[in-house]
Symmetry: C2
Subunit: 136 residues, 2 copies
């Protein structure tokens, strides 16, 4: 990617006051939503240049190369921006599971009409086997 094109792209996006933009990860084949995290300019640049999805970890305040520790990385298939240019959708090939709990998706708690919460998916990999206490 040329520096000019990248700069044009990044300058067109609306980041929040922490310099972040929400990024939704969707499995490209199955279509399920895996997670939502945040990217800064560096994470977007790394994602596009490497083909591996990177986020910005708000808790660690560091670039988060998804799966670097756990091996559960996301290969980028498509990066799509929305009409307001304030949200990113990454379509990915998920290697293993996306959630730090060992579930495929972070969205596993369904709220029924009466307010009850129900877990709708199971743990596929013991988190201890993924990364212990290290970042996912």
């Amino acid at each position: 990617m040329s520096k000019t094109k990248l700069d044009t792209l990044l300058s067109s996006l609306k980041f929040n006051d922490q310099g972040l933009i929400p990024a939704i990860a969707q499995d490209n084949t199955k279509g399920d939503i895996l997670m939502m995290a945040w990217m800064n300019k560096e994470a977007i640049e790394k994602t596009l240049s490497s083909g591996r999805v990177c986020y910005w970890s708000r808790s660690r305040q560091a670039l988060w190369k998804k799966g670097e520790t756990s091996g559960q990385h996301q290969d980028l298939v498509d990066l799509i921006i929305d009409c307001d240019r304030d949200t990113i959708l990454v379509k990915v090939k998920q290697n293993g599971v996306a959630c730090h709990t060992g579930r495929r998706s972070c969205f596993y708690t369904s709220v029924s009409e009466n307010g009850d919460c129900t877990e709708i998916s199971n743990v596929e990999i013991d988190p201890k086997d993924l990364y212990g206490n290290k970042p996912s």
Copy 2:
């Protein structure tokens, strides 16, 4: 929904410093991502009690009953919260189009590896026929 259950649910969610939480809307049948917007406690309550998806409009600083003006409403099929309880996924039955541009989805601009932007979906309804300058 009992008030107690609702309170328990709402108090478990992590809102940002504006009292908002991001909400991703996904078509329940086709699986495509339609939009991402924000909810406050009132929007979540209205969504669950009415079965119609409501957001909080940051630009108008008002409850946004999606489709109230345009007719392009979203019937709630499932409301799912993520592992960190800081993002909501609503699976919906989309009536018509979700995007204020008249496209089915707000995510219609694909960014290629070299930084080029390509529109990947077409306008289905002229926005003027939806709501003119009124909110979507």
